[in-house]
Every structure is written in structure tokens, then in C-alpha cells.
């Protein structure tokens, strides 16, 4: 019932594309998922609807274009551009997974800095070689099993994700006993606990000295494969019956419960999945920066992600991706305002901090003119693109 109401609302607000064939508004990603299943089961590609085939081809081609772009950047662009592109991918992973809890399920969590910290430390400790650990841990030697382990990148990232998810699973029991603002405070508390633990457990984390000499393993391929994988998984999840239950919880938790949705189970599911990807994101970040310490994972990091998802559009994965891209590139573009300039006959000296002012102004503008973020709850879909193209063609004709 609730699920149906949700759907009706979406279609009535005009979010549903109007063409008849898209009556279920299925997005490309899920279509691809389903398709893959079909292909695997019986190879029934020919039996598939023509429209779906078009959408799959469109998805495939755009992914190919992205990969082509990445390949080109990898060989020709400067490491500076590569660095920002890597950060963009990491921000996409972090913000879309954060959006699953805050935007889709409507649970105001402030704990992603804790998840990132766990993921970053876990993966870094697993990839560092014993020799590197020995020279980095100068206050106290690292504890026994960790000093001998050295894994490759993929297993350590996966372990980091699983460890983070496990942590989220454990804390979800106390955390989801409360709702709303109280939930925010409890998750904030866990975030601080993790940070303080990282500061004090010198024999595991090297305390406030932090870790140095982490191998730079994060490349465009790693970060963007994970980003694409994350977005596909999360969009698929949001569009599934699980996702609709999560949205029902966001709209009205009590009503959802009355309709027979086990709210605790779905909230926990969102929390754990989100934590898994945030752990991965933290691991990728650690292997990009090659150094981490507890000060990196303060509440400010969570706050940055919050800016991304709110400015992008709370509840929309498209919005989170756009927000992440703007956040990663925006600060670098705005550096222009801080540099000294000779414009015509006027010399303007450098103004440190100017870009923060402009960035804040931009945020205010976004929130004034796009009350619900840049995209609101709108999601990208091929139907929308075809609709737009169709209209254009009609106009030109």
C-alpha cells in the first residue's frame, strides 16, 4: 500500500516519463541488472523488448565513452587532473552511499567519518609491507598479527569494506533505538569514538603520528570502477522492493511499520551497505593520499559529504553524483580568485580564503533557487533523455 502510494506520488508529480512504454519507470541500471540475469539464464536477448535494448546500448556506450575518456586522461592529462578525477570518484562513492542512509532511508546519520576511518586504516594496514610498518611505528611496535600481513589491493579493500560493514552492523543495534535528531547525536558520538580510538590505540594505528608510506595504488581504473560499481549497486537497490521499503520509512516510519515493513531491518540494511561502500571509499582515499592520521577523519569530513548530498539533492543518486563532481572540481576552479592578477591596468594582490567565501555564496544560491538541491529527487534515466531528444526533434521538424 505504502509502496503504491509512493509510486503514485512520483508519477503524479511528473517525474515519470510520459511515454507509454516506460510505465514502470525502470531505470537503465536495473534494466541492465535484469538483462544480465536473462542473458545468463537463457540468452534471450532477441526476446527482449526493443526499447530495453536501446537503453542498454545507451548505457553501454556511455560507459565506454567514460572509459575512453579515462584512458585518454590517464595517458595525456597531468597528474594534477588525475588527482582531482580520482578524488571525484572517491567523493561519488562516499556521497552516494551516504545518500542511501540520509536521503533514501531518511535517517539523519552523522557517522560516515567513522566508517571512512575504519576503511582507510584497515586497508592501509593490510597493504603496507612489514618493513614499512616497522619504520613508521616509532612509538610502539605494531601488534602481532598485523606486523606480518601484507596483502594486495583488492583483497585488502574488500576486507576493509567488510570490517566497516561489520562495525556498522554492531552499532546499528544501539543506534536505531532512537530516531531523528537523537540518531544524529548517537552516530556523531560513534564517529568521535572511532577517531579517539585511532588516536589512542598506538600499537594498531600509530596514534596521532598517523600512517605514512602507504603505497599509491589508487589509480583512475580502481577509483572509477568502484564508483561505477557503487552507483550501479545503489541505484539497483533503491529501485528494488528493498529501496521502496526504505523510501516508505523516509516518508513516514510509523505508517511503514503499520504496513508491515520491518523498519529496523531495512534501516540496518541501508546502514550496513552504506558503511561497506564508505569503507571502500576510505581505503581508496588512503591509497591516494598515501598518508592518513586521525585528524583527517574529523566531523568536518562528514560535514563536507552532507554539503554534497544536500546541495545535490537529498534522496537522488544523480544529485549526489553531480554534487560530488561540483565539490571536487569547484574548489580547484575557485582558486583563481585567490591568485594575484593583472587585469588591464589594475593589479589585484592574492586574497587567501576568497574561494571559501565564493563557495559559500554558491551554496547559498543553490539552496535559495533549488530549495531541494540541484536535482531534487529527480533521477537520471534514458527515458528522460529520449523524451527530451524526441521533443527537440519534433520542434525542429
Amino acid at each position: 500500500m505504502v509502496v503504491k502510494r509512493e509510486r503514485d506520488r512520483e508519477s503524479s508529480s511528473g517525474l515519470q516519463p510520459r511515454i507509454e512504454r516506460a510505465r514502470d519507470g525502470t531505470p537503465t541500471i536495473l534494466v541492465l541488472f535484469r538483462t544480465c540475469k536473462f542473458v545468463l539464464i537463457g540468452g534471450l536477448v532477441i526476446a527482449m523488448k526493443r526499447e530495453n535494448l536501446v537503453k542498454i546500448t545507451a548505457t553501454f556506450l556511455s560507459l565506454l565513452a567514460l572509459l575512453g575518456f579515462l584512458k585518454w586522461t590517464n595517458s595525456y592529462a597531468s597528474p594534477y587532473i588525475v588527482q582531482i578525477l580520482n578524488l571525484t570518484a572517491i567523493y561519488i562513492i562516499l556521497s552516494t552511499s551516504y545518500n542511501l542512509v540520509n536521503g533514501v532511508t531518511g535517517q539523519f546519520s552523522l557517522g560516515p567519518n567513522a566508517f571512512m576511518a575504519i576503511g582507510a586504516y584497515a586497508s592501509a594496514l593490510l597493504t603496507m609491507t612489514p618493513a614499512e610498518k616497522e619504520i613508521t611505528f616509532i612509538i610502539e611496535p605494531i601488534i602481532s598479527p598485523l606486523d606480518k600481513i601484507a596483502l594486495t589491493f583488492l583483497p585488502s579493500l574488500l576486507i576493509a569494506g567488510v570490517v566497516t560493514a561489520l562495525f556498522a552492523f554492531l552499532i546499528s543495534f544501539p543506534v536505531f533505538r532512537v530516531r531523528g535528531d537523537y540518531l544524529a547525536i548517537v552516530t556523531l558520538g560513534f564517529g568521535e569514538i572511532v577517531r579517539v580510538f585511532a588516536t589512542n590505540a598506538t600499537s594498531i594505528t600509530n596514534g596521532s603520528l598517523g600512517l605514512k608510506g602507504i603505497k599509491q595504488l589508487t589509480s583512475l581504473w580502481w577509483s572509477w570502477s568502484w564508483a561505477i560499481f557503487t552507483v550501479f549497486c545503489l541505484v539497483g537497490l533503491v529501485q528494488s522492493s528493498y529501496g521502496r521499503a526504505m523510501k516508505a520509512i523516509r516518508e513516514d516510519e510509523t505508517a511503514a511499520q503499520a504496513m508491515g515493513i520491518n523498519t529496523f531491518r531495512y534501516k540496518m540494511l541501508a546502514f550496513v551497505i552504506s558503511a561497506f561502500f564508505q569503507g571502500i571509499g576510505g581505503g581508496l582515499l588512503a591509497h591516494l593520499l598515501t598518508t592518513i592520521d586521525p585528524k583527517l577523519f574529523t566531523f568536518l569530513f562528514t560535514f563536507n559529504l552532507l554539503i554534497i548530498i544536500v546541495a545535490g539533492g537529498l534522496g537522488s543518486m544523480t544529485g549526489s553524483v553531480i554534487g560530488a563532481v561540483i565539490f571536487a572540481w569547484g574548489f580547484e576552479f575557485l582558486r583563481w580568485f585567490e591568485e594575484p592578477h593583472q587585469i588591464g591596468g589594475v593589479f589585484i594582490p592574492e586574497i587567501p580564503g576568497m574561494r571559501m567565501v565564493i563557495f559559500s555564496l554558491l551554496l547559498i544560491l543553490i539552496m535559495l533557487f533549488f530549495r531541494r538541491g540541484i536535482t531534487g529527487r529527480w533521477e537520471f534515466s534514458w527515458d528522460w533523455v529520449f523524451n527530451k531528444l524526441g521533443k527537440k526533434i519534433r520542434v525542429t521538424n
Partner: protein, 371 residues
């Protein structure tokens, strides 16, 4: 959307119109001009600019300092370093003050073979096993050693208590070195208690220390906590001499601590009265004329980082980053602002430590300890 696009487009268009002077020697500066440690960035930048005004040319070309803000943030520091090297094509990087940010800059400098001098990052692992990374200050262990020697030899202390801030790598490093040296000299560290930066109440730790009755209490932390600890210690009736590291050096120390911090000794990098070099004298003169108050240590270190770099460029006789690196490594007997500087095999600056004592609202020079 369109508005935003325009806002992003305008700088681009302007960018293409603006041309820059090409025939200059470009040195990148990464400092925290905004964010948590903005105050450090500000004073360091002041010092660097004075350093540049003392010596604006090298190899017959003018030096351009390109300042990039890192928002007191690790990720931004890494971006800033990439930007300076790839886009501005700098031949050397100076910065940042906070060790955690310098740790993010260092691997990028290392990878691109660009010499990097941090003015005041004291965490030992910043330069550890790195070929292109240096610092213009001494490291925490060295300062801790001097504190211990001063406490044992000059203050005649035999029993010491240590209050360590476990939230700061700086404090942990200093405390460990203090304890090691003090014990080696024949003294005894009878109690060692911890606190965390941001704490307000230290009575529990201080009561524990009071029972052991030490001759000296070492507080190698930052000024806010030192002032609060001093205040609460005096209220508890502890009259023991207090000693701390360069984290104590800030006007806030006496503003918060008032009479309680009177007589506190601290080690630092720089004092007007300890100046022995012509560069130092010139620096103080310009600083006094411009700002009309006593110059601070961070600014002086900023100037030193700049001047060490310039000295190396001059000796290398070229702007090749590899050659500059080799020359920075060979720096010895360099008559810098903060004293005579040697660069040791671990790329740390070795130079004399200044000891000052709080008297009223000011700090007075006590002595200099040579390495």
C-alpha cells in the same frame, strides 16, 4: 543551473586574458591560510615575504612565491602540491606548518623530484626515508632532549613529572624524548599522566602528580592546555617549576594563564636576543619596522625555509630541481635567521635551541643551547 555555469565560466574566460611574467624563478608555497591552523599559516607567510624582501633575486632572476591555501586539510594539501608542480611548474615547494599536511605534500614532491622544505613540521616521520623532503626546524625529540638537559643541569631537578597530550603527535614525541634523556642523565620520571587536547579539567592528573612531589613538571603540549594546567596546579597549591616546548609560545598563554604561568620555562626556535647572524638582524629590523612588535618563531622559520632554498639554488647555479636538492642536502654552516643551520643525514635542521621564561605578559630570553 545556467547561473552556476556562468559563474564557473567567467574565471575561465578571464584566465585566458591574464598573462603572467615568465622569466622568474617560481617557488611554490603551501600554507593553511584558512581553517583550523590559519593563524600559523598567516605568520609563516609574513616571515617568508620578509625573507623574500631581504633576498628577492637569485641567479640574476627575480623569485616569485606562489601561495596556495590548503584549508588546513590533508586532501587539499595534496591537490595544492599537484597544482603547483603540474600547473605552475615550480622548482621547489615550501610548506606546510602542520605535520599532517606536510605528510600529504611530501610524497607528491618525492614522486615528481621537486625539493620540498617544511618550515616548521616537527613530526619525525615527515622527512623519514625521503630523498626530496627537508625541514627548517629541529624535530620534537631534539627539543625534548634540550628540555631534559635544561631541567637536570640548570634547574637541578632530580624528579620530574610529565603531562602528555596523547592527541598530539608533537606532544607524544616530545614527552618520550624528554623522559629518555632525563633518565639517561640520572634523573627519574616519577609520574607520567595523559590528557587530550580540548580537555578543560586537569585536577585529577594534577592531584596524582602532587602526591609524588616532583622537582619539575614537564608539559610538552599546546598553549591553551598549558595555561589551564598551570592555573589549576597553582590553585591546588603546586608550586613546582613548569617547563614546556615551543607549543607554549603564543600570546594566549599569558592571556589565559595570567599569573599562574609566571616563571614557566619553554624551549623555542627563535629569540631576538639570541640572534647571532647578519640575516637574523636584518630580519628583526624589517619586522620591527613593519609590524612594530617582537618577531615570532614561525615567521622566522618561514624566512629560513625560503632562504635555505635560495642558498641552495645559488650554489647549484641552476634551476634544476635535482641539483637544488643535492645542494640543500649539503647545507652546513648556513647563517640563517634563526641561527647557524646544518642539515643532517635525516634532513632535519640542526641548530641551537632557545630557552625563554615567562615574565609578566612577555617572555624573556634565558639561554641558548647548542646542539
Amino acid at each position: 543551473m545556467r547561473i552556476i555555469l556562468r559563474i564557473f565560466l567567467v574565471p575561465f574566460l578571464l584566465w585566458s586574458l591574464v598573462s603572467r611574467a615568465e622569466d622568474m624563478i617560481k617557488i611554490g608555497v603551501i600554507l593553511s591560510m584558512t581553517g583550523g591552523t590559519a593563524a600559523f599559516g598567516e605568520v609563516t607567510w609574513t616571515g617568508m615575504r620578509i625573507g623574500r624582501s631581504i633576498r628577492p633575486n637569485v641567479l640574476g632572476k627575480e623569485v616569485e612565491l606562489i601561495l596556495v591555501d590548503d584549508k588546513s586539510d590533508k586532501i587539499e594539501s595534496a591537490n595544492a602540491a599537484q597544482r603547483l608542480i603540474q600547473k605552475e611548474k615550480v622548482i621547489g615547494i615550501l610548506g606546510d606548518v602542520a605535520s599532517s599536511n606536510s605528510l600529504a605534500i611530501a610524497p607528491i614532491a618525492e614522486e615528481n623530484h621537486i625539493p620540498h622544505i617544511s618550515p616548521a613540521s616537527t613530526n619525525p616521520i615527515v622527512t623519514l626515508n625521503r630523498k626530496y623532503v627537508f625541514r627548517a626546524c629541529f624535530i620534537d625529540p631534539f627539543q625534548g632532549e634540550v628540555m631534559a638537559k635544561f631541567a637536570y643541569n640548570d634547574l637541578g631537578a632530580k624528579k620530574a613529572a610529565v603531562l602528555m597530550d596523547i592527541g598530539q603527535d608533537y606532544s607524544v614525541g616530545l614527552s618520550n624524548a624528554f623522559q629518555k634523556t632525563f633518565t639517561k642523565l640520572g634523573g627519574k620520571v616519577i609520574s607520567r599522566v595523559n590528557y587530550l587536547s580540548g580537555d578543560q579539567d586537569f585536577t585529577a592528573q594534577l592531584t596524582a602528580i602532587k602526591e609524588t612531589n616532583p622537582d619539575v613538571i614537564a608539559i610538552p603540549g599546546y598553549y591553551t592546555e598549558i595555561a589551564l594546567i598551570a592555573k589549576q596546579a597553582r590553585e591546588l597549591g603546586i608550586k613546582t617549576t613548569l617547563i614546556s616546548g615551543d607549543g607554549a609560545e603564543a600570546p594566549e598563554l599569558t592571556e589565559i594563564g595570567g599569573k599562574a604561568v609566571e616563571g614557566l620555562y619553554y624551549t623555542t626556535h627563535f629569540d631576538e636576543k639570541a640572534i647571532s647572524t647578519p640575516l637574523g638582524k636584518k630580519y628583526v629590523e624589517i619586522f620591527r619596522k613593519k609590524y612594530n612588535h617582537a618577531p615570532d618563531a614561525l615567521g622566522a622559520l618561514g624566512a629560513d625555509a625560503y632562504l635555505i632554498m635560495l642558498d641552495a639554488i645559488e650554489r647549484a647555479g641552476s634551476t634544476d630541481p635535482e641539483k637544488i636538492r643535492d645542494e640543500i642536502e649539503k647545507t652546513k654552516d648556513f647563517q640563517g635567521v634563526t641561527g647557524v643551520i646544518f642539515i643532517d643525514s635525516n634532513h632535519n635542521a640542526v641548530k641551537n635551541v632557545v630557552i625563554r621564561q615567562v615574565k609578566g605578559k612577555e617572555s624573556v630570553y634565558v639561554s641558548s643551547v647548542n646542539p
